[in-house]
Symmetry: C2
Subunit: 260 residues, 2 copies
């Protein structure tokens, strides 16, 4: 099943993707739904972010090669995480598939992407175990963790480096059947593959994070967890188009523009 | 005006505090409202957090004495912020006035409070200036930034140190007339004053943060900004009651219990 959220003449509404059409539903994937007879051509629909998360979790460093890359660039010794510490991002930065990433006027040229698997929580959960962890997962979508690297170094927090408006593309939809073990993440800039990795090659997996988080925190329906990225990304420039494809889910594609 | 949000037999609803009563309203303080004839005794109402923020901003270090305290405890040289960098907290951690702060089973004894002024955003805002900044503010409420200090040191992020369930009491209501320059923040534990400071003695003020944030980020109605704390706090223990009073707003009071 693929849950898409779209702009129905000003009202956000959910639909189910059926090939190249969208079957409109009443309700939502969290509280319950029923099918309607309305079917729209997918190509004519304006997609919205597939969910506005009550809490937006994001894993900073979760792929060994990425940790080594980041350390190397900073001239430091790689320091692999020893426990699944999660962070937070701002939902104000979310944009849907196809909406432009806008580079702020005073950003340096170091605006970079990170293709990430996104876990979407389907039901309230606390004190999950390894065995029960995945029961709370509705499905997966795709995130692009855009960062301004000079601000990431200069500021005390990641507020503008990671959370400036439009810096968090997410979509195109939520897939409930994709299998983590089959996934490959492929990032393309203007059609050229720039990054490619086995999505499951994480230091701490989805189960590990769900167990760790819910030991202290109640997950809510609609919460999202961005699972981190691998490898290194080149700078994005106005006029580029960046695509993140994950096997079994789809492709999140966004153009890049400069703030006027 | 004082906007309170309360549990109306399972439905969250807003009311206006009038002395020791609550006038129920239709609507909310953000999209518009109308008065009703229903008036409830305030003492019989179960308050909820006065707003569930789309984005929950929090200023880490914003009072000089607090920065020096934190540095001293860590055996480091105090490093005063040179620009208004804001951080994020999780709305999953919010609890209202009078709800218990629950100390997690495996927390150390170093669970501490921080009494903070909370700015509540009333309307969408981007690119604010010094002159226009306060136009987007609906009013003020009170926050208690509970932290587990050993996790704050050991973890890569503040996720459980600052965001464990119940670690963010906020309330009791939103006051739209309180004046920042008249405010004093007074924290009491079991009735004894433990911390007391001029609320306006900030390194960067409310205007500074509003201008800085909206240079890169769109503020939304209901967003909150916790403005940081001054001084040092002793450990909270099960059985304690912690109160944060701010002149002109009111008192946020919460009991402390241990996880079972």
């Amino acid at each position: 099943m693929r849950w898409a959220r779209f702009d129905d003449a000003g009202t956000p509404r959910y639909g189910l993707v059926e090939g190249d059409t969208l079957r409109v539903i009443e309700g939502d994937p969290f509280a319950g739904h029923s099918l309607t007879d309305r079917v729209l051509p997918l190509a004519e629909v304006t997609l919205m972010v597939p969910v506005v998360p009550p809490t937006f979790y994001c894993v900073g460093l979760n792929y060994a090669a990425h940790v080594r890359e980041v350390a190397e660039r900073a001239g430091q010794v790689p320091n692999l995480p020893t426990q699944p510490d999660v962070g937070y991002r701002a939902q104000s930065a979310l944009i849907p598939h196809d909406a432009p990433i806008i580079i702020p006027r005073d950003a340096t040229e170091k605006v970079q992407y990170e293709g990430e698997l996104v876990v979407v929580i389907g039901r309230q959960a606390r004190h999950l175990t390894e065995e029960t962890a995945l029961d709370c997962v509705l499905g997966y979508t795709i995130g692009n963790d855009v960062s301004e690297r000079s601000w990431q170094k200069s500021d005390r927090t990641l507020w503008r480096a990671k959370n400036a408006d439009t810096f968090k593309p997410m979509g195109p939809w939520i897939d409930t059947e994709a299998r983590l073990e089959d996934m490959e993440t492929i990032v393309r800039v203007n059609g050229d593959v720039t990054t490619r990795f086995r999505t499951a090659d994480m230091i701490f997996g989805v189960r590990d994070f769900l167990v760790a988080i819910t030991r202290y925190i109640t997950l809510q329906p609609g919460d999202v967890i961005w699972m981190g990225t691998d490898g290194h990304a080149p700078n994005l420039r106005p006029g580029d188009r960046v695509e993140v494809e994950i096997t079994g889910i789809g492709t999140l594609s966004n153009p890049v523009t400069a703030e006027e």
